[in-house]
């Protein structure tokens, strides 16, 4: 489904002594060319789709009576143009890197999961509850992140288990779980976990200044960014460079082949969905520990849904999710400026995101088209003839 796993055209291992025949040389050249082609494609296709969406959004702005160039100029100023706005962008990119993983990792298995929002909300709530209502044997900061991640992980692993053992559609179940998570948050911060002093905005007790995560020295960007970067790198290594990741990608590539090879498909589904939820739960815990200092309705930010978009643009690649999260964090950061300067509604950012999403999905159809490079098989044939 969707993001297929490209089968690497790895050159066949040769005995060291035997000199490669011309045909083998040609094959290797073709494989190299195919790799180059894939690299060009993997940048050009999403890049083209992003440009197309920006053009479309420009037309939309023009039709609704704004100068598109002026809008883009302000968007740049509000996202990357000044040091202040770039720090804001990075601050928003951090949770997006983590919520993107909640969709990207299961996507490698062929599952479309949208539960990042709910896992993030519950992760944040659990972190605040741990910091304010329990004595922890380890440092409070560590306990918050640990418990937040675990709660988020279990939440999505539940949806994964329902998919694996019961065949419940994971897309619908995770969307429903988002609504249920938000209801749980509202119920708990207005009831059992409420800080009596929080009058206008019901919240949990504050976690205390001592337990807040600080910022990078000299910067206005909190340590969550490091967690986001680290998680993306670790999960990239896990998915691309380990046997576990290979097995998971095999499930996504061809589930029948995976079953025939005796892979524990159901266990893989539960573990990978747990890891995705772990990342999203961590995002919620970081928001509480680094920004809000308490859990309340501010946790419902839509970062979960933007994370879905990040995952799809990055084609489920955790490393690609880093620049994409920064791009979308920038779009989000510029929203406030657009509202002030052009009197645009706050939904402007959502319109642009929707267009980006549609454009990226349509671009899937352009992979493997001829204009990127000559057909691989033909190249191999021509080279073989030339060598003969």
């Amino acid at each position: 489904m969707g993001v297929g796993v490209s089968v690497g055209a790895s050159p066949v291992a040769q005995p060291a002594a035997a000199a490669p025949t011309p045909a083998q040389l040609a094959e290797r050249a073709a494989a190299r060319r195919a790799a180059v082609r894939r690299t060009i494609e993997s940048v050009a296709v999403p890049g083209g789709a992003i440009v197309a969406a920006l053009v479309l959004f420009g037309v939309f702005m023009a039709v609704t009576g704004r100068n598109p160039l002026a809008v883009y100029q302000e968007m740049f100023r509000g996202s990357f143009g000044t040091w202040f706005s770039f720090q804001n962008t990075l601050q928003r990119a951090a949770p997006l890197m983590l919520t993107a993983l909640a969709t990207a990792l299961p996507l490698r298995l062929g599952l479309v999961m949208l539960g990042g929002e709910g896992a993030m909300v519950l992760g944040g709530l659990a972190a605040a509850a741990v910091a304010t209502h329990f004595h922890t044997p380890v440092s409070v900061k560590l306990a918050m992140l640990l418990v937040g991640g675990l709660v988020g992980g279990c939440w999505l692993a539940g949806a994964g288990a329902l998919r694996a053992y019961r065949g419940v559609n994971e897309t619908i179940s995770t969307l429903l779980l988002n609504y249920i998570a938000i209801a749980l948050l509202n119920h708990l911060v207005e009831g059992p976990l409420r800080d009596p002093a929080s009058l206008n905005k019901p919240s949990t007790l504050p976690i205390g200044d001592d337990n807040m995560l600080g910022s990078f020295p000299g910067l206005d960007v909190h340590w969550g960014l490091a967690w986001g970067l680290g998680a993306c790198v670790v999960f990239w290594v896990l998915m691309q460079r380990t046997t576990f990741g290979f097995a998971a990608r095999m499930v996504g590539g061809n589930i029948r082949a995976a079953l025939l090879n005796g892979l524990p498909v159901r266990k893989l589904i539960v573990i990978v969905t747990f890891l995705g939820g772990l990342a999203a739960g961590l995002a919620g815990a970081l928001e509480v520990a680094a920004i809000h200092g308490t859990a309340n309705a501010s946790l419902v930010t839509g970062y979960g849904y933007t994370g879905v978009l990040v995952a799809f643009i990055a084609r489920a690649n955790p490393l690609a999710a880093l620049p994409v999260a920064i791009l979308l964090g920038g779009i989000g950061a510029s929203g406030g400026l657009l509202q002030r300067v052009f009197d645009l509604p706050d939904a402007t950012v959502n319109v642009l995101q929707g267009m980006l999403f549609l454009s990226i999905l349509l671009s899937e159809t352009f992979y493997g088209r001829r204009w990127f490079a000559t057909n691989v098989a033909n190249v191999a044939n021509v080279d073989r003839k030339a060598a003969a």
Binding site: T171, A347, V351, G354, E364
Partner: protein, 304 residues
């Protein structure tokens, strides 16, 4: 009136009032899925329908023109979905999610100036004329769209079961290859089915803004479009069962407000989450790893 009667009345009234958008969206999704395609984006269509209906009703003074516009907006989104999905290698589940975000975004963007002004509402008749209690009468307000929905339920069933078009749609949904061999254009049939489904979902949205809750704001829909998609699975792709399921969901959605109206306020948010929990419980109970679901179009089975 005792508290229990109050709650029961609230739930029954809610079943009639809140079920209408569920009914329209689920009928639309049922139609689309019978042709072998899933449109997860009907939540976006619902919100677009609500916004455009409210805007047109406010500008022209005619709520029915608003309903029609909502339907047309739904057709446009449905056509976009079908076109994108007909491209090779494009994932229809993902397109649905994208259209959901896109539809909601565009509706909030264009609907910003509509928050505040009052638009003419759709007419309703009270089926509670026999009662002297104002509560009973207001609970039994029956909107014209609910009646149209009832007619549509049997209309869609007739279309699917008894007409040539319905047969073609079901053929495409059961086996695209057979339909192609018989000379039918699979992509085109699905295009029409998705457009028709979009029309119904858009009309369902107009009910939200033009009758109940009866104004346009950004919190208008709380996932009804999404639950309706899950509801089609529960209804086994049968329009009449969609009606029954919609009434059940309407009642479940009314439970929170009904309890609150008689003074039960603790756990308000949890009661409001009843429809989501119910949907989840239902899809868990009705799903099965081992066997295919009765009534499910075979083309969808392969997609899973």
């Amino acid at each position: 009136m005792s508290a229990a009667t109050g709650v029961a009345l609230g739930v029954i009234g809610g079943a009639i009032r809140i079920s209408t958008p569920f009914l329209f969206v689920s009928l639309g999704e049922c139609l689309t899925e019978k042709s072998g395609r899933v449109n997860l984006g009907l939540e976006g269509t619902l919100v677009m329908g609500a916004m455009s209906a409210y805007g047109i009703s406010y500008l022209t003074g005619s709520p029915w023109l608003g309903v029609l516009t909502a339907g047309i907006a739904g057709v446009a989104l449905g056509a976009l979905h079908a076109w994108l999905c007909s491209r090779p290698r494009v994932n229809d589940v993902a397109v649905g999610i994208a259209l959901m975000l896109f539809g909601v975004g565009v509706a909030f963007f264009l609907g910003k100036p509509l928050i505040g002004p009052t638009a003419p509402h759709l007419p309703a008749v009270s089926a509670g004329w026999w009662s002297s209690s104002a509560q009973v009468r207001s609970a039994l307000q029956i909107n014209a769209l609910f009646v149209i929905g009832l007619v549509m339920t049997f209309g869609v069933r007739f279309l699917l079961q008894r007409t040539r078009w319905g047969l073609i749609m079901r053929t495409v949904g059961e086996s695209a290859d057979s339909a192609r061999a018989m000379g039918y254009d699979v992509a085109r049939v699905r295009l029409y089915a998705t457009m028709a489904g979009g029309f119904l979902a858009g009309v369902g949205g107009s009910f939200l803004s033009l009758f109940y809750p009866g104004s346009w704001n950004e919190g208008l829909s709380s996932g009804q479009g999404l639950m309706a998609v899950a509801l089609v699975i529960f209804a086994r792709w049968d329009p009449v069962r969609c009606l029954a399921a919609s009434l059940l969901f309407g009642g479940a959605s009314a439970l929170g407000p009904a309890l609150q109206s008689v003074g039960v306020t603790s756990g308000y948010y949890l009661f409001n989450a009843t429809p989501y929990v119910l949907t989840l419980a239902i899809i868990i109970a009705t799903s099965s790893r081992a066997r295919a679901l009765a009534g499910q179009p075979a083309e969808l089975r392969m997609a899973k």
